[in-house]
């Protein structure tokens, strides 16, 4: 492998990392506040991608408009799932919420498969040639994907760290009882959180679909990487989720020449297990959230 191949893999890993950071961030937000790993996050991604495909097919709209509509749709699905399912399971053993999340994931995926079929789909995008800098290739589409992901991550960080919504959210994450005692109304806050998480996942799905293809299994396949990224960064740490996703995806890409692309998911699993063994709190996390 020459250094040019290395740089190409590195760039690809960074772009993938920015995309995986979106579901990882969505998961870590729910984990921090609602205290369970939302295994339906992957299928929310799929929902978002298919909503955008549907809007493009039916309306012939440009992708950015389709993505915006799909964010609204997925945000509503996400908030609906909280209202109908997860709110009622609060206070029950964690495995209840997880099983319900798996069930929700199956339900979403199968409804998509039933109505949209199992064929791979792609977004209606203009074909562009990659820029070539002496062997280092950059696709303008990839650049757009990275930019959209980076901007949306920045928007979420502003929401979390610079608004009263974010302050209240972090207060609930730290101590739900204390937050309630100080007059934070949880219901509206939770709905906003799940709307945000749904929109974030939807965008992740659209970007993932732009980078590869759209299929009913796409989101499920990104569940373990997103989870590994979240754990690597430290549970409940939004910055950690993004860092974890970048590190994981770069490592995955650099490992491709050694192991082939099929073992990417296995590598995610190995990273996940190792981090949990060696440093359960992740890069940015606190240990008591894990054990």
């Amino acid at each position: 492998m020459t250094w040019i191949d290395f740089v190409n893999l590195l760039i690809n890993g960074l772009i993938e990392g920015l995309v995986v950071a979106l579901p990882a961030l969505a998961m870590t937000l729910v984990m921090g506040v609602n205290r369970f790993p939302n295994a339906a996050t992957g299928d929310m991604l799929t929902t978002g991608a298919y909503a955008a495909v549907a809007v493009q097919l039916l309306g012939g709209w440009p992708l950015w408009a389709a993505a915006l509509i799909s964010m609204v749709v997925t945000a509503l699905v996400s908030a609906g799932s909280y209202t109908l399912i997860f709110r009622k399971l609060a206070g029950r053993p964690m495995v209840s919420s997880m099983l319900a999340a798996i069930g929700l994931g199956f339900l979403l995926r199968s409804l998509i498969g039933f109505f949209a079929g199992h064929d791979q789909r792609t977004f209606d995008l203009p074909l562009v040639r990659a820029w070539n800098f002496g062997g280092i290739r950059i696709l303008p589409t990839d650049l757009a994907i990275a930019a959209v992901a980076a901007v949306s991550l920045a928007v979420v960080f502003v929401l979390i760290y610079r608004t009263s919504f974010g302050r209240q959210l972090r207060a609930v994450a730290d101590s739900a009882d204390l937050a309630r005692a100080s007059g934070i109304r949880a219901n509206g806050l939770m709905l906003s959180l799940w709307l945000l998480v749904g929109a974030l996942s939807s965008l992740g799905g659209v970007l993932l679909g732009m980078k590869a293809v759209v299929s009913p299994e796409m989101g499920w396949e990104s569940l373990i990487p997103a989870f590994a990224a979240m754990v690597l960064g430290g549970i409940g740490s939004p910055v950690g989720a993004v860092l974890g996703a970048l590190l994981l995806c770069v490592a995955q890409e650099l490992a491709v020449p050694l192991m082939g692309p099929s073992y990417k998911l296995v590598l995610s699993f190995v990273v996940l297990a190792l981090v949990l063994l060696v440093r359960p709190a992740g890069i940015m996390g606190r240990v008591q959230l894990v054990r």
């Binding site: 790993p37 495995v95 069930g103 339900l107 373990i224 073992y263 296995v266 699993f269």
Partner: protein
């Protein structure tokens, strides 16, 4: 019709065995194993590959249990350090890692093509009789495991396991070290799944990585949770109920005209998803389960 019922019975008993294994892990000890299918797959492939080398089936079955049990050792050790939700995702990731490895390492497993032509158990007895004999054998195995679980749960060891599930810190405060027991239970449950895999391999006689998707894990969970986790009765009746559910949807195809085979598979997945949601919401202790644990 007899042949059909016999086949359904065998599959039901295989799920029963899986559910009994999961019941040891989750029902008694609260170890959340979302990777049941990995141990099932490894058992099936171990037994299948050995049998193709001419190893007697009895030894193949034993090897399936032993290999699956040993494979659970590192995961069991990991489980000592993890809260249940992390263990859930780790085991889920593990099962996908196992499936991908089986798919990729075609020098050993023939990859996506799978292993055809595995010897059928009791094959020399002839078609129908061999299935009957397998059904009877499985019935005995399930009965022994069920009886063993009841005995185990009532023994001091079983009470210890229950205590681990209920309140581990309190147990540690009493000076007991729950670690090794957890690992043992994890391995035992995995070994049962491995044996179930061997039965499956030598009943179906053709295994591919596609048969070992995470959905199988959640079929078992659905059965156990529907029946009521923590009780042998729950595990047994839950898996029977699961079978009614899975086979019933096959017949439902006749009533829902114009749905393709693929579409029906989607609808079945949707039904599983809905059932998981509804059971956790409205019947957390299952239909046959005892009081709240």
């Amino acid at each position: 019709m007899i042949a059909y019922l016999c086949a359904i019975g065998i599959i039901a008993l295989i799920y029963c065995l899986l559910a009994l294994g999961l019941n040891l892990q989750f029902g008694l000890t609260r170890l959340v194993n979302f990777g049941v299918v990995a141990f099932f797959a490894v058992g099936a492939y171990t037994s299948g590959l050995l049998s193709l080398q001419g190893v007697p089936l009895v030894l193949c079955f034993v090897a399936a249990g032993v290999v699956s049990g040993l494979l659970a050792l590192p995961i069991g050790l990991l489980s000592l350090r993890l809260r249940d939700d992390y263990l859930a995702i780790v085991t889920l990731g593990f099962s996908e890692a196992v499936r991908i490895s089986i798919q990729q390492e075609s020098w050993l497993t023939k990859g996506v093509q799978g292993l055809p032509g595995l010897p059928k158990a009791f094959a020399s007895w002839g078609g129908g009789a061999s299935d009957m004999a397998m059904f009877a054998t499985l019935l005995v195995v399930v009965a022994v495991v069920a009886w063993g679980t009841v005995r185990l749960a009532a023994s001091p060891f079983g009470r210890l396991l229950k205590a681990i599930g209920d309140d581990e810190p309190a147990l540690a405060a009493l000076g007991k070290d729950p670690a090794w027991f957890k690992v043992q239970v994890f391995m035992l449950g995995a070994a049962l799944a491995g044996v179930a895999g061997a039965f499956y391999a030598h009943f179906i006689t053709f295994i591919t990585p596609e048969q070992f998707i995470p959905l199988i894990t959640f079929y078992v969970w659905m059965g156990l949770v529907m029946g009521g986790s923590g009780t042998v009765r729950g595990a047994v009746f839950g898996s029977l109920l699961l079978m009614v559910f899975l086979e019933g949807s096959r017949f439902a195809k006749d009533w829902v005209p114009g749905v393709s085979e693929v579409g029906m598979a989607s609808l079945r997945l949707a039904a599983v998803g809905l059932a998981l949601i509804l059971v956790t919401l409205y019947k957390p202790n299952g239909l046959f389960g005892g009081k709240s644990q």
